[in-house]
């Protein structure tokens, strides 16, 4: 009897092993389901979208999105804390399955990774020191300005700085939090960040106030996945629309950012 069970067991396992061979053509979606775990890259120095709570645990809008995705797929989740700069490499090098990291969908980046439809929309805004005298974007000319390295604000601002001939006054920081610290210390006069972060930052520091909105276009941010895994990217697209339809998008936005969640629509374009 025992031998019978053992034989049966090995036959079943053998069949599964066969399935494994068959699934050599499995795509990312299959991989995640079979692994029983989705590995989400999240930027944790981007309050209120991603940050560490008082227990040093990951929290925020993006973290909740990862948890929701895992729940929808009925798998576990793993949060991989990232710097801004690591958001794409982790996908390319298969250290994460998906990145929820407010990633702007630039054409240059799309050569390296795959983007979903936009899942959140931001615009770039500066936080400035109280005595910097910066009220408009033009006032930033000749001032010391900082942003996180590898971000769209950095690339966009440097275009203006080059025109003004003030590139020397720009400084890149390894994290958004370092940018805020630098403004608070007076190391720089203005730090470029995202509109959602402005309120928590200005609440935190007495000498830091909201600065002007940056002149470049609205920041459409997408969820990031491997470039060639269309099945997976499709699944993520559907997940994003379901988050909106179920009201979860508005709920989380209200909880972490406050107010009305922005419409995930690009005017005048069909996508």
């Amino acid at each position: 009897m025992k031998i019978g069970t053992a034989l049966l067991a090995s036959a079943v396992i053998g069949l599964f092993a066969l399935g494994e061979v068959e699934s050599a053509k499995a795509d990312k979606l299959d991989d995640v389901i079979n692994a029983g775990k989705v590995r989400c890259g999240v930027v944790l120095d981007f309050p209120p979208i991603g940050f560490r709570d008082a227990n040093n645990e990951p929290a925020g809008f993006d973290v909740e999105y990862c948890k929701d995705l895992a729940a929808a797929m009925e798998v576990d989740y793993e949060i991989l804390p990232l710097t801004w700069a690591e958001r794409l490499p982790v996908i390319v090098t298969n250290r994460a399955d998906v990145v929820f990291g407010a990633t702007s969908d630039t054409l240059e980046r799309a050569k390296t990774v795959g983007f979903t439809i936009p899942y959140a929309i931001y615009y770039a805004q500066a936080v400035v020191t109280r005595d910097s005298g910066i009220a408009t974007f033009e006032d930033m000319k000749g001032k010391r300005v900082g942003a996180a390295v590898g971000t769209v604000p950095e690339i966009e601002f440097l275009k203006y700085a080059k025109e003004w001939g003030t590139e020397d006054l720009y400084q890149g920081f390894q994290s958004e939090n370092e940018v805020f610290l630098a403004v608070a210390q007076g190391k720089i006069d203005a730090g470029i960040t995202t509109n959602t972060a402005v309120k928590p930052i200005t609440d935190q520091y007495e000498n830091v106030i909201a600065g002007p909105r940056m002149p470049w276009t609205t920041d459409y941010t997408s969820v990031v996945g491997p470039r060639k895994d269309f099945g997976w990217l499709n699944y993520l697209n559907l997940f994003i629309t379901h988050q909106v339809r179920s009201g979860r998008y508005q709920e989380l936005w209200g909880q972490f950012v406050g107010g009305e969640a922005p419409d995930l629509r690009i005017p005048g374009v069909m996508y």
Binding site: P48, T83, R95, L181, Q204, F256
Partner: protein
């Protein structure tokens, strides 16, 4: 404080000290693995170099020289992106340990080779003519004499690797340096936290330095 009643910044508390200690623990694990592994590998490489002649110097010697001539931080970024390309996605701590281990072995190889060559040929011939085999000569003549000659240099390498483990912070491995950096931006108290982190590094280096002193003293007596 933050919008929606969510708070993002917190003062430094006693719990943060524990979090830093956790980081220090990981630093200790990463650097011990790297130092032990790197010393074993480096000893082997050093021996190969000492017997390898010209061929050894051109092949192995050249590879090890590259590890010594490229900044560890560049090696880290390079390899953490390389392992997954060849199909071995490692997490940050694993990749960091591996890179540090290779870096350490390249430095130890140089030290070990110097140690082996520090033993006079005549001493080794004497050993061999007493009927020792090559391996006996290596074990009972070269090892004790060479080890004493290179102990200070080895200590320097080990302490260097311990400090270089701070660079693993670029990979977000959660070791002492990275934890400190994140805590600085969260608590806005750079001097306090850098000071505590510095003390932790001091405390980690201290046992290695003391062990060396102890061994040097003991060996002087026999």
């Amino acid at each position: 404080m933050g919008s929606g009643g969510v708070q993002f910044f917190f003062e430094f508390t006693e719990r943060d000290l524990l979090i830093l200690a956790e980081g220090a623990k990981l630093t200790l694990i990463i650097s011990s693995l790297a130092i032990v592994g790197g010393t074993i590998l480096g000893g082997l490489f050093g021996w190969l170099l000492s017997i390898g002649g010209r061929v050894g110097a051109i092949t192995l010697g050249w590879v090890l020289d590259i590890f010594r001539s490229v900044p560890p931080i560049v090696q880290l970024v390079l390899f953490v992106n390389f392992f997954p390309i060849i199909g071995f996605p490692l997490d940050a701590a694993e990749a960091g340990t591996l890179v540090l281990m290779m870096y350490c072995s390249a430095l130890v190889a140089q030290v070990a080779r110097a140690g082996i060559e520090a033993v006079p040929k005549t001493t080794r011939w004497a050993g061999r003519s007493l009927g020792m085999s090559y391996w006996q000569d290596l074990r009972y003549v070269v090892l004790p004499i060479g080890l004493r000659a290179v102990l200070p240099s080895w200590t320097g390498v080990a302490l260097g690797v311990l400090k270089d483990s701070a660079l693993v912070s670029v990979l977000k491995a959660g070791e002492l340096m990275q934890v400190s950096q994140e805590m600085i931006t969260r608590t806005q108290q750079p001097f306090l936290i850098l000071g505590i982190a510095g003390l932790f590094y001091f405390a980690l280096s201290f046992p290695i330095a003391r062990l060396t002193e102890h061994l040097e003293r003991r060996w002087q007596h026999d």
